[in-house]
């Protein structure tokens, strides 16, 4: 049987030559992401800004503008109506007035139901989520904190397992991935919910997964080929692990694409976040994480066992 090989044997692509191109791409992506984050900002869901979210499945199709106009006529503040999955599945978001109590919140939910029932008597009401400003503020803080801690924790682990340059390289490539995925969410205005934070955390673990495998190979080659210059050595390591990077990421990509296309619509934010992360993570582990090692000063001397250096000195002294 002829086996499928997406990356042919003995591939030797000179990734180094495309380095400047990659730097340009990264710079543009990061700049665009920061631009979107600054201008459009993230479309925070009720988890993070508080308010009320109802998900409704309609039987007949009602134009979004009609729903929106009817809801705004209630005078309960600007209602946001979006579809998710199909055009019959609506996500309706209402702001809650400052200090609104439970009774007010459930009255607001009832009025929304009334409007929807009038438009489609057979509508199915799937979820009602009401989050007070107090809780949403905390969720936002802990969400941000967990992302930050995950990045630092993993970078520290890599620093201990390898050398500090690898830790810094990992941290920078993580920040790079994170900014671009956040920029993606800002540009598309996909609802940024708790699930998306989970996706980002997964992505932190996953993106580093790739980086670690490559670093592992760089370390092995640094020990094996003492005489080789650092740049060709990195190129060699990238090429040697390329088949694996492509194979694994293809597999993950296939699994996640199934989740995005046929999976439950409610977690689309999670699935799409992971998908975007997989794509960016693959790219960044080839370019960002690896070639950062050069300016950070990883050289042929890295990973020399300390006693080996002592030995070498002794030999030297005897020679003189």
């Amino acid at each position: 049987m002829r086996l499928l090989k997406l990356v042919p044997d003995n591939t030797n692509i000179n990734f180094l030559r495309w380095r400047w191109f990659a730097i340009a791409v990264s710079t543009i992506l990061v700049a665009a992401s920061i631009f979107f984050l600054a201008t459009k900002g993230l479309n925070f869901g009720v988890d993070f800004v508080g308010g009320q979210l109802q998900r409704v499945t309609l039987v007949k199709v009602v134009p979004l503008d009609t729903v929106r106009d009817r809801l705004n006529a209630l005078g309960q503040g600007e209602a946001s109506v979006q579809t998710f999955g199909s055009e019959r599945e609506l996500a309706i978001r209402l702001p809650l007035p400052e200090g609104a109590d439970e009774a007010a919140a459930s009255a607001a939910a009832d009025r929304v139901r009334g409007v929807i029932r009038a438009l489609d008597p057979q509508a199915r009401f799937d979820t009602v989520e009401t989050v007070s400003g107090k809780v949403s503020g905390e969720l936002l803080r802990t969400g941000g904190l967990s992302l930050l801690l995950a990045m630092l924790g993993i970078a520290t682990y890599i620093w201990f397992r390898f050398e500090w340059q690898f830790g810094v390289g990992a941290l920078v490539s993580l920040a790079h991935d994170m900014i671009i995925v956040l920029g993606f969410f800002a540009a598309t205005q996909i609802d940024f919910s708790l699930n998306v934070v989970a996706a980002l955390l997964t992505l932190i673990g996953f993106s580093l997964n790739d980086t670690v495998v490559v670093y592992d190979r760089v370390r092995e080659n640094l020990r094996k080929y003492r005489k080789m210059e650092i740049e060709p050595l990195l190129n060699l390591s990238v090429n040697e692990t390329l088949a694996r990077t492509v194979a694994t990421n293809t597999a993950v990509f296939l699994a996640v694409i199934a989740l995005v296309v046929v999976g439950p619509d409610v977690i689309d934010g999670l699935s799409i976040g992971i998908l975007a992360g997989v794509i960016i993570g693959t790219y960044s582990s080839i370019y960002v994480a690896r070639f950062l090692l050069v300016p950070l000063g990883v050289g042929p001397d890295s990973f020399l066992p300390k006693d080996a250096i002592a030995d070498a000195e002794r030999v030297k002294r005897r020679e003189t």
Partner: protein
């Protein structure tokens, strides 16, 4: 490398059989597994609210309540203690303003005795020797008691524990439903009731603190003063929505005749004369005697039935009530009377609870999510397995078997550990399918590489497994760090996702590395191939 010791083979097989057996009940309908003999595993993966539908409420306790109540209780204790002191200590101007209890000692010579008595009212907190109240003397005549931070924290903690129990009793009086009531953080209680669609009744049940008191009506109070909200000494003015004179207020004595703490039972019933919904209550022995004595002494005078500081009704005592039973009438419907009966039975909430987060999920959405999640798992898994087989041939087949075992074992572990599967958890499962492949990819690519370098077959195999394992370990560790943080800082559904990821990481290491190696080596020993089909 080739010689797997026999015990190791059996250990691996035993672990696999166990893992798969634990997952088996999930593939049968619940009705079928119930009839299985008891030695067979019957546990299923518990589903989160987002998959089965239900209500989720996060309640916030008003900790200010606790502080206020402590002040009031302490004020009462100080009065009693000074009265009981020998010789009696005359005090005046007791106040609970500014968050402290302070009082004037009339005879300056008694100040030391007063301080000693008040110190005796405080309790040690923890092991540091700190007490729950700090006592000081101001202007040499005034004793000031300040609640200490540690004391307040302890009181809040105890109040929350009690509140949690009360909430649990109210939601689930018979302990039969699958509701969960947990404390969360310092001042919150999490309530989850599967299957419940309308949380309004639930919130109504939790909104009441259900502090029931019986007090005598102060007949000497000047009606004009009462209408203005001013009460005579020793009395207080309370709202009375159904008052016959339409004033909406009534003055009652501060002293409590009997309180709801002395109840043994409360049931909803109907009044025999006018068929209105009422709540029938029964006092315990002590409460019953007290109620009997007070009613004997106050025949033909009215008393007030007070719930949460609102007067429900103020009937006349027609005759002494001796049996220890009484009837609470008010403007009730059978439902509200029943809710009140439940609230009274379960005790009073020591703090006011407000809902700060509420999520209600319909059952249809959950069923739909499960269905589509399973389809996504099948399609995603199918694609990944096809891809692996196309890429690595026989070795891909080995990896696929490992992958299937992995998913089944994850379900088995979740069933036996009672780890809840949530909607994001399904995504975690799909992602695990993709990520678990990584270990096999690393190994297989390494074997290919070693063969290209001209190693002998067996050498290539053992090197492939050995060299890949450091990378696999490091890569998995980064995932574990992310998952642990997600679990520590995340809430409900996100935790479900983190749990699936963590279990998946451990099981995938076992299936992808250990089990695959066993399969590869057994195959190698049986067939002694001259070339590896990879």
């Amino acid at each position: 490398m080739l010689d797997f010791p026999r015990w190791k083979i059996w250990a691996v097989i035993a672990a696999l059989v166990l893992g798969v057996a634990l997952a088996v009940p999930n593939f049968f309908p619940e009705a079928a597994t119930k009839t299985w003999p008891s030695f067979l595993p019957r546990e299923r993966v518990p589903l989160g609210l987002d998959l089965r539908g239900g209500s989720h409420l996060l309640l916030q306790a008003d900790t200010g309540d606790v502080a206020k109540q402590r002040l009031a209780t302490m004020e009462e204790s100080v009065r009693t203690e000074m009265r009981r002191a020998v010789p009696r200590i005359e005090v005046g101007d007791i106040s609970t303003a500014d968050g402290v209890v302070s009082f004037l000692v009339r005879d300056v010579r008694q100040i030391d005795a007063a301080v000693e008595k008040t110190r005796g009212l405080s309790q040690p907190v923890g092991v540091t020797g700190q007490r729950d109240w700090d006592v000081a003397v101001r202007d040499s005549t005034r004793v000031v008691m300040t609640p200490s931070r540690a004391g307040l924290d302890k009181a809040v903690d105890e109040a929350l524990d009690t509140a949690r129990e009360v909430v649990a009793r109210r939601i689930d009086p018979n302990g039969t439903s699958e509701a969960t009531v947990l404390r969360q953080g310092d001042d919150r209680i999490l309530v989850q009731v599967p299957g419940l669609q309308d949380s309004r009744g639930l919130r109504a049940l939790l909104g009441k603190t259900a502090k029931l008191e019986f007090k005598l009506v102060d007949l000497n109070a000047n009606p004009q003063e009462v209408a203005a909200g001013r009460a005579p000494a020793g009395s207080q003015v309370l709202p009375y929505p159904d008052s016959p004179d339409g004033g909406g207020r009534i003055a009652v004595k501060r002293q409590v005749m009997v309180s709801g703490d002395e109840l043994v039972d409360a049931q909803q019933g109907f009044d025999q004369t006018n068929n209105a919904a009422v709540v029938n209550i029964r006092f315990d022995g002590q409460g019953g005697r007290r109620f009997a004595r007070v009613t004997q002494e106050n025949v033909q005078k009215p008393f007030a039935i007070i719930l949460d500081n609102v007067v429900l009704s103020a009937p006349n005592i027609n005759e002494p009530i001796l049996g220890g039973s009484a009837q609470i009438s008010g403007n009730f419907t059978p439902e509200t009377a029943n809710d009140l009966a439940i609230s009274l039975r379960s005790g009073k909430l020591p703090v006011t609870l407000t809902t700060v987060e509420e999520r209600t999920i319909g059952p249809d959405l959950g069923a739909e999510s499960i269905e589509r999640g399973v389809i996504a798992c099948l399609i995603g898994g199918g694609l990944v397995m096809l891809y692996l087989f196309a890429t690595y041939g026989l070795f891909g087949l080995f990896a696929n078997i490992a992958l299937l075992l992995n998913v089944v074992i994850i379900l088995g572990i979740m069933s036996v550990a009672g780890a809840t599967l949530t909607l994001p958890g399904i995504a975690g499962l799909v992602l695990t399918i993709g990520a678990a492949v990584d270990a096999n990819v690393l190994i297989n690519e390494r074997i290919r590489e070693e063969i290209r370098r001209g190693r002998r077959l067996l050498d290539a195999l053992s090197h492939g497994f050995k060299e890949a394992s450091t990378a696999i370990f490091d890569a998995n560790t980064t995932n574990v760090i992310a998952a642990v943080l997600m679990y520590a800082l995340g809430s409900g559904p996100i935790r479900g996702f983190a749990v699936v990821l963590m279990i998946g990481i451990v099981t995938s290491y076992f299936t992808a590395v250990v089990v695959t190696r066993l399969m590869v080596m057994t195959w190698f020993r049986r067939t002694r191939p001259t070339a590896l089909p990879i």
